[in-house]
Structure formats: structure tokens, C-alpha cells
Symmetry: C2
Subunit: 296 residues, 2 copies
């Protein structure tokens, strides 16, 4: 337990989020989460075909363009309805429309990007934003020295205006690109102001009330996963078992591991963590450690 915070809703569930936040049974008409996650992929492939004026595609072709196998694609589409023609394939334009509608892209969504450092600027300049019904309502940063500067044609606005901006522009999606230490607070303010979906780029586990979806994008985690597999590959080549045998657990029942014995994996972190110290560590769990992209 921890995290009590001025949340609008009742009990502050923690939950996390990589995928759906929780919500056991809330699918409109039951489209599997895994399928939803692939629809954007299909949409992108279909859009490319559409631009080349290709009228129809078979599940096989579309699947390979999207990088999935055809059985999976057909099963995915079956959740949307029977939009194909046996013996022929799928009508590209029609499918683009159906998927767009299913994903809610037939309407505009206002988003705000908080934290305009290199990453925030990159996101602001990202073309995929505007091209799919996402409208950047504002760019927000806590550094008043940045206020007013133009990024991607939009003026950076100060954090003080966050609530009013959300209100005025009916923002429902917030993108957090701040340092880890500021993420939870920004998140809380966004939620309190009415945002119900958050895309978090800060390396922190965010706590949000029920009903709010959080998805995270974490570079550090991705790299670590790659490292794991990379290590595995190296091991296979040499007949496995190269790793320094794990220190026998029994040898050190309690804390007893000489810092020196530990590879610098842990120690190093402190480097950046220091800066993160900004956000006091009163919070139990998450709170900074891995620094993330810095603001301007």
C-alpha cells in the first residue's frame, strides 16, 4: 500500500501497465487485447497498399506485410466481422475504414505532450500523430525559460496551464515525456484534470485510479530484454555455461555480498539516479532510478 494521492476516483488502484491496465471484463464486444494491439499494424500495411492503389489483398499477403502469420490475421479479422470475400481476399479500402473505426480513429483525439526535452520534441515532430486523428492540443514544460518557444510549430506552454489546457481542449490522452522524478506528479494532475489515457515514456511505474489506462514505452527495458537474448546466443555458441557460477545462495544467507564482487550493474545507476533525486524518495516503490530522457 502506498500511494495515496489526491485522486479523483475512489480507491487508488495501483496497477501498472503495459497492456491494458486491468479491467477484467470490459471489452465492448469482445475483441481480444492481443488483436487490438495488432490492428494498428494491419492498418499501416493496408494504408501503404491503399496508396499504391491496390484494390484487394489476401490474408497471406497482408499478413506478410504486417509481419504476422495469416492464420492469426484471419482470426483477428474474424473478431471484427466477416469483411473478406472467400476465394478473393479483402477489399483494402473497406478494411482500412473498418479498422479505423474499430480503433476509434474516425474521430479526433486531443493529446498533450508534457515534458518537451529531446524526446518530447521528437514526439511533437512525429508525423504519425496528425495523420491518424491525433491532434496535439499543446506542448507543456515545467521550465519557464522554455515557455513560448516554438516546437513543431506549437508554442511551449507552462505547466501552470496544464489544467486549463486539458479543460479547454477536451484532452483525453496525455503523453508524459518528463524525467522519472516528475512523472507521477504530472500523471496525477493529468488524471485530476480529466485525462483518462496516458502514454508514459518515463521509467516509472505510475499509479492511477481505476478507469485510467496507462501504457508505457521504456527504452531501458527493451535494451535489457535484448541483452538477455544476446547473452543467450553467445552462450549457445560456446556450449553454454560460461557465466560465472552464481554465488552459492547458501553461502550468504543474508546480506553479505561484497559490493566489490558485484559487477557494476547496480552501482552505476546511482549516477543518473542522483539527478532523479529531485523527486524525493518518500515514495515507496518506483521513483527514480533509471533516468530517462532528459528535458531541455
Amino acid at each position: 500500500m502506498q500511494r495515496g494521492r489526491p485522486q479523483p476516483s475512489s480507491t487508488s488502484r495501483s496497477i501498472v501497465a503495459s497492456g491494458r491496465t486491468h479491467r477484467p471484463a470490459a471489452r465492448s464486444r469482445g475483441i481480444p487485447e492481443a488483436t487490438v494491439a495488432r490492428l494498428p499494424l494491419y492498418l499501416r500495411a493496408l494504408t501503404a497498399l491503399s496508396e499504391r492503389s491496390v484494390p484487394t489483398v489476401s490474408s497471406e499477403e497482408l499478413a506478410s506485410a504486417a509481419g504476422v502469420n495469416s492464420a492469426k490475421l484471419r482470426k483477428d479479422f474474424s473478431y471484427l466481422g466477416s469483411y473478406g470475400t472467400r476465394g478473393v481476399g479483402y477489399d483494402v479500402e473497406y478494411l482500412v475504414y473498418q479498422i479505423s473505426r474499430e480503433l476509434g480513429l474516425t474521430q479526433d483525439w486531443s493529446v498533450v505532450i508534457v515534458g518537451i526535452g529531446n524526446l518530447g520534441a521528437a514526439l511533437a515532430n512525429y508525423g504519425g500523430f496528425a495523420s491518424r486523428g491525433f491532434r496535439v492540443a499543446a506542448l507543456i514544460d515545467a521550465d519557464s525559460a522554455q515557455t513560448g518557444k516554438l516546437v513543431a510549430g506549437l508554442p511551449i506552454r507552462h505547466t501552470d496551464e496544464l489544467e486549463s489546457i486539458i479543460e479547454e481542449s477536451q484532452v483525453s490522452i496525455g503523453v508524459i515525456a518528463t524525467p522519472a522524478g516528475a512523472a507521477q506528479e504530472v500523471c496525477d494532475r493529468l488524471v485530476a484534470a480529466g485525462v483518462t489515457s496516458i502514454l508514459n515514456f518515463a521509467p516509472t511505474v505510475l499509479s492511477v485510479p481505476d478507469g485510467v489506462d496507462v501504457r508505457k514505452v521504456d527504452l531501458s527495458i527493451e535494451l535489457q530484454i535484448l541483452a538477455f537474448h544476446e547473452q543467450r546466443k553467445a552462450g549457445e555458441e560456446l556450449g553454454e555455461a560460461i557465466q560465472p557460477a552464481a554465488l552459492p545462495k547458501t553461502a550468504l544467507p543474508k546480506a553479505a555480498l561484497p559490493k566489490a564482487a558485484l559487477p557494476k550493474a547496480a552501482a552505476a545507476v546511482q549516477t543518473t539516479a542522483v539527478q532523479t533525486a529531485a523527486g524525493r524518495s518518500e515514495r515507496p516503490g518506483p521513483d527514480g532510478d533509471v533516468p530517462v530522457v532528459m528535458p531541455a
Copy 2:
């Protein structure tokens, strides 16, 4: 020896990737992919505890700090071995070490970042890189006008040097932050030069030979997934069924949908992968997974 390099083996399998690329049975000693994806999360939480000099944690505490439930955490740790003490909990330092080792963070990994726009710069400045055994060997960009400029203390080098840089620095992980159109070519060169793990930020499905892992981070996809849920929430409030009824499929057997009726969903990607797509893929990380982000 280390990192071997599979070389663009025979047929250019497509594969794609969000999670592990494929490889049905290749786990060293069988740690589930879903567990591997969570280890970085635990490590981060543990690191924070370590900095606060907390000696031990219970599965319950650590789980809430990492945003997962305790049963899952205990099951995850059980794959690594019995590192806890019944009735007490886990020794923080010891666990940090074990997880670091398991993830391969006890050794250094050289990475190159290709495409130094806003995103590439953001990644270069990302503190989490250096803090976990990842060493940025070089920043590479195709724009010769940028060559030599310093970003995060490192000089930008020209694409022409890509192969020699990989060779010299024994780079095994490549981060692609170029525009979508250049991604596949950069990927091919990285792989040909010996890179066996790729983190792709370009909104494209990359084709790589077997043995090469690709993970992707795609902002556009994440936003679309959020939009889907956002739409669902709105629907619930109003008693569902607000969406403009789908055009009856039967009404337009073939292409017949007036462009104008389609939301402006299309228009932007035009990838290079379309042509090459081939093999099967795999599902993204354990949970949600994927998404995107464009370069400058």
C-alpha cells in the same frame, strides 16, 4: 569469444518482432519470455530499494513497487532459483545481482544509434543507457552536414563508417531511429556487419535473418491502442452503440467506398518492408508491447 555473428544467413527470413523473434525452443534454461520482460522492472524497483539501503523485501512489497501482483513475482523468481528466505523475504542486494546476471548486465554491451534526429538525440542523452552496462559506441547519421557535431558528448559519425564502427567496437546491438524509409536499409547493413539485436523506433516492419532479434517501439501504435480503449469508455457511458453503424458490407462488395467517407487515416508511412516481408512473426512482448516513434 563472444558475440558470434550469424551473418545474413541464407534466405532472408522476415520475422518481425516485437518480442523474441521466434525460435520455438531456445531458452537457455527455460525462463519464460514473459518473465524476462518483467525482470528489468524488478531490477529497477530493487535498485531503488538498494539506494535507500533497504536490506530485504517481501514479494508483496516488491511486487507493488514493480506494479505486478505478488504471485506472479514469486513465480517469476522461482524460474531463477530459490533466492528468497521463507518467512522473511528477499535480500535486495543479492537479488539485484542475480537478476543483473540473468539479464546479462554484468557485462558491457556496445550499441550504436543510427539516425540522430530529435529522437536519436534523446536516446543518446538517455542516462539509462550507460547505467546498465550499455555503452554507446557511436552515433551515426546519414546527413553529412551533421557529421562531427557533438551530441551527448559524442561526435556524430557518417553512415559510411557504419561497418567499420561495428567491427571495431564489437557492437552487438543497434538502435534504429531513422525515418521509416531508411530503416530497412540501415537494418540490413547493421546485420551484415554483425549486429544481432536491433531496437527499432521506425514505424516499419523489419525483415531480418534468423538469429537476429528485433524489438520495436512504436508511438503510433500505442496511441491507437489507447484510442481504442478511450472509445470504449466513451461508449459505455452512453449505453454503447454510438459509432456510425458500419457501412453494410454487403452494400459494397468490392471497392466502392468514397475516399471522402474515409477518415484521413492513411498517408504517412510508406515503408520499405512491404516488399520483403516474408516469414512469420511472433507476438510482441508479453503484454502490450509495441509502438513507435519517429525520428526528427
